[in-house]
């Protein structure tokens, strides 16, 4: 999150976790990949607010992770429709919901190489609600057309596609993805940010209502659950993040 939040009652990371938690909605099983502390906080918050539901699988965690059949179990679970919500990001994300986790420039001799696709070229197709999350909202990351399609936002009608993009959360705003028009729609701009700034920093066209609301801040109850219940749970998988954001004790 760039810049200090205008309201010292909550931090930017807490706002984003709360926004994502509300997007999760009524789900039975939320899975979170590696290196995703804010989505992990959101999933744990949804569980705290839902009295133990949804099931949460944090791939980065030993404790909040019930998989016992190796790395394939997550993907087998997803293929069967047993994962309702997952999170993906991209070195580039374009206005049609295509994501690029591979490279920029010529594939055989790229100018930028990202780590790779991980499970995205599969999970984007089969998880009903994929929430895209990128804390760098810029024309470098939100582009008119990705250089490499790790996974497309939409598919031809004969392609097995039970899932896809649902929303895009950035440090500046919240978009939802309309699968019919294949376009993002701006839902709200986070406190401390402006519509002009969102337009200026977004490389693709998007739809928006006449009046764009400000993202609602976390409720006192959500904040208290984040700090009292989620923070110590998160510290097991993300000790540094939890220490920095919530002041949990760093174990090393």
């Amino acid at each position: 999150m760039t810049g200090a939040p205008p309201d010292p009652a909550w931090r930017g990371e807490e706002l984003l976790a709360d926004v994502i938690c509300r997007l999760i909605g009524d789900a039975r099983h939320v899975a979170v990949g590696n290196a995703s502390p804010i989505p992990a906080a959101a999933a744990l918050l949804a569980r705290a607010l839902g009295n133990g539901r949804p099931y949460v699988s944090l791939l980065q965690s030993r404790k909040h992770n019930f998989f016992t059949d190796g790395g394939r179990e997550l993907f087998d679970c997803a293929g069967q429709g047993r994962i309702d919500v997952f999170f993906l990001s991209g070195g580039e994300i374009d206005g049609r919901g295509n994501i690029n986790l591979v490279s920029i420039g010529d594939y055989d001799k790229p100018t930028v190489r990202f780590p790779g696709s991980f499970g995205a070229a599969y999970l984007y197709y089969v998880v009903p609600k994929v929430i895209l999350f990128r804390t760098e909202h810029s024309r470098r990351t939100l582009v008119p057309q990705v250089d490499f399609v790790t996974a497309p936002g939409t598919s031809a009608s004969n392609v097995h596609r039970t899932g896809g993009p649902f929303a895009l959360v950035t440090n500046r705003c919240l978009f939802v993805f309309d699968r019919a028009t294949k376009r993002f729609q701006l839902v709200s701009v986070h406190p401390g940010h402006t519509l002009a700034e969102v337009i200026e920093n977004t490389g693709f066209d998007f739809d928006r209502p006449v009046d764009v609301p400000i993202t609602a801040p976390p409720s006192p109850h959500a904040l208290s659950q984040l700090r009292k219940v989620v923070a110590p749970e998160l510290a097991e998988a993300y000790p540094r993040f939890a220490a920095e954001v919530f002041g949990t004790r760093e174990p090393r």
Binding site: V126, A151, H160
Partner: protein, 272 residues
């Protein structure tokens, strides 16, 4: 050669130049002791396959010039950033890259495990991952109607290499809940394992341990390597050496720094 090798180098004899070598992801147990020994030899022209991702291990082997081709769904140092030698090698076009996606690698290993020539997988259609894989095919589901689906050829590595908490003297290896290590070993022609300790007793005799045991039947060689995953973690046993990984990320950012890293931590036997 005895199943329990006298030295780490003896255990690695099966991994020759040009070997198609399967390696495990960080949380499953990575044999970094063996990786350093292979670089010291040095092994050449490895066809590396990560199930399904890699971190320091692939970056080191690539940086040291041991790798001809790499198949994986990602190489990253996680919270320490991109894998610098991997990224540099791809940008320079000096290794052959086969980009995959995690479940494709799991499925292709499972096909080899079953002794069948291919596995079908959902997803992928319309992706540039598929577009850059001429060895993958799209067919129409023969049991459906106008239902395209991707077929992946089975991956049968020459050797699978990983690190595990313990083995018994009959060569049975305890892998616990890291079940993909069993898939790796079942799929590979040979499996080489380094372990934290050797157990006097029979891992298969105790039903609680047997469920997490890979039988010695699949194993080519085992070497004792205490803290053999260092500086990576051995989950449930020890954590990563974060200071060391930060130092690696800093040094490996340049070829000169990487060479200093190799000198200090790979070629200097005190470190291994």
């Amino acid at each position: 050669m005895a199943l329990i090798a006298d030295t780490l180098e003896d255990a690695l004899a099966a991994i020759g130049d040009g070997c198609m070598l399967a390696i495990s992801r960080e949380v499953a147990g990575v044999s970094m002791a063996a990786t350093r020994a292979l670089i010291r030899r040095p092994v050449a022209q490895l066809r590396l396959v990560a199930l399904p991702t890699s971190s320091l291990q692939a970056d080191l082997l690539i940086g040291a010039g041991c790798v001809a081709t790499l198949e994986t769904s990602a190489v990253s140092l996680g919270e320490f950033g991109p894998a610098p030698r991997f990224s540099a090698a791809i940008r320079a076009g000096v290794i052959g890259m086969k980009d995959a996606t995690c479940p494709a690698l799991h499925a292709a290993f499972q096909a080899a495990e079953k002794g069948v020539p291919f596995a079908p997988l959902r997803g992928l259609i319309g992706s540039d991952v598929l577009a850059h894989r001429p060895d993958w095919r799209v067919i129409d589901n023969p049991f459906g109607c106008d239902d395209p689906i991707v077929l992946l050829p089975a991956i049968q590595p020459d050797v699978a290499l990983f690190h595990a908490p313990m083995a018994d003297r009959a060569g049975n290896v305890w892998i616990g809940r890291q079940r993909e290590l069993a898939t790796m070993a079942h799929a590979a022609k040979k499996t080489v394992v380094t372990v934290e300790r050797l157990l006097d007793g029979d891992l298969l005799a105790d039903p609680m341990l047997a469920a997490g045991t890979l039988a010695g039947f699949y194993i080519e060689a085992i070497a004792l390597a205490e803290r053999g995953a260092w500086p990576l973690p051995l989950p449930d046993h020890y954590a990563a050496d974060y200071d060391h990984l930060a130092e690696y990320a800093r040094l490996a950012a340049t070829p000169e720094g990487f060479a200093r890293y190799l000198e200090r931590y790979v070629h200097d036997r005190r470190a291994a």
